[in-house]
Symmetry: C2
Subunit: 211 residues, 2 copies
């Protein structure tokens, strides 16, 4: 085996590799099920490095949140700031923005959906604080304004609409790897999903069709 000791060469990326490996395991197995041994192996180091760099398992999660998750939240918030009040534009902007973000951060949907449902509050605490509290609150406000302006059926509770919208957008994306097991086919591409979601949403948002 390799002997202990400081290796030669530049090793400043060990920390970054640990963060990436942790995020990978969080998204694939859930925060609770992710083991330091697995994370360390993915990063190519020993589990003791986690204590050395971060101080422990909980501190590693904190670091992932600070340095990997919060930038994505900021990215989403910047996108939402460009949306107007029109209901159709809101739906379209939200879905396409979500898709663009997921394109660059493929672990986002499964991480989000999994942790929102998890009983282990650590990561959800953050998600609720930074994502659910800021982004949906802002969107819900826009929806309420759209209702006042008559663009949106006033009977719909904007908060419920918000929760459903998140589920409608993220759940199919997160479940995508299972499609072939559910439907015996893998040819359900993300473009089709986006078209479909947009169509379903845009219709649901229009106010002049009361069933």
């Amino acid at each position: 085996m390799r002997r202990p000791g400081r290796p030669s060469g530049d090793r400043r990326d060990q920390r970054e590799r640990l963060l990436d490996a942790a995020l990978f395991h969080y998204a694939n197995h859930g925060v609770t099920a992710a083991s330091l041994r697995g994370i360390a192996e993915t990063a190519g180091v020993t589990p003791a490095m986690v204590s050395y760099y971060f101080g422990g398992k909980a501190a590693l999660l904190n670091a992932v949140v600070e340095e990997r998750l919060l930038p994505v939240v900021a990215e989403l918030r910047r996108h939402l700031d460009t949306l107007g009040d029109d209901a159709g534009a809101l739906a379209k902007g939200f879905v396409s923005g979500m898709h663009a973000t997921v394109e660059r951060h493929p672990w986002l949907p499964s991480l989000w959906v999994r942790e929102v449902l998890s009983e282990d509050g650590t990561l959800r605490e953050l998600l609720v604080t930074h994502i659910a509290e800021q982004i949906p609150r802002r969107l819900a406000k826009s929806f309420a304004r759209a209702q006042r302006h008559g663009h949106l059926n006033p009977e719909l509770d904007p908060r419920l609409l918000m929760v459903s919208l998140i589920g409608l957008t993220l759940f199919p994306l997160a479940a995508a790897p299972l499609w072939h097991r559910i439907f015996d086919s893998e040819d359900l591409d993300s473009a089709a999903l986006e078209r479909h979601t947009l169509a379903l949403l845009a219709r649901g948002l229009e106010t002049d069709h009361v069933p």
Copy 2:
């Protein structure tokens, strides 16, 4: 502490209590994270009883599936058999049937959503086989038929519609316990959610509004 030995009185319900406790923990912590000690404590027995009655952790999961999950699947299938081809009726029937089922089995949404996303395949294998393969497949068929009959926009992929419908229906229900943390209010009752989901769905399903 309590001494070992056969207790007095009728104890035929120990097994049932273990099944209920297991389902509770599966739904709340996930199948992998659920520990026998926790389950046994909830049931008011020692973990050794699990081995005694079922043979082990895996066998306990099997028993929960056989005696708690499959009856619910059968219940849902019976409900689906009463649905026709009309898109509006399908949406209404699916959602209201889902709500009625969830009313009696409150653990269903979080269990379903959590396990569909889980990397631990044991329970998902069953869910895909018995729920995802039978119910959505049947519904997707109905949707395709409705498309041929002109009741449903033929541009929408019925499989995608199916996945989104599950997300739209179950995700908000599963996220319900978090609402008050997201929106600072607990007054989002299940009736409002059903109204909202139905309205959004029924509009999305209508075929004459192409955006």
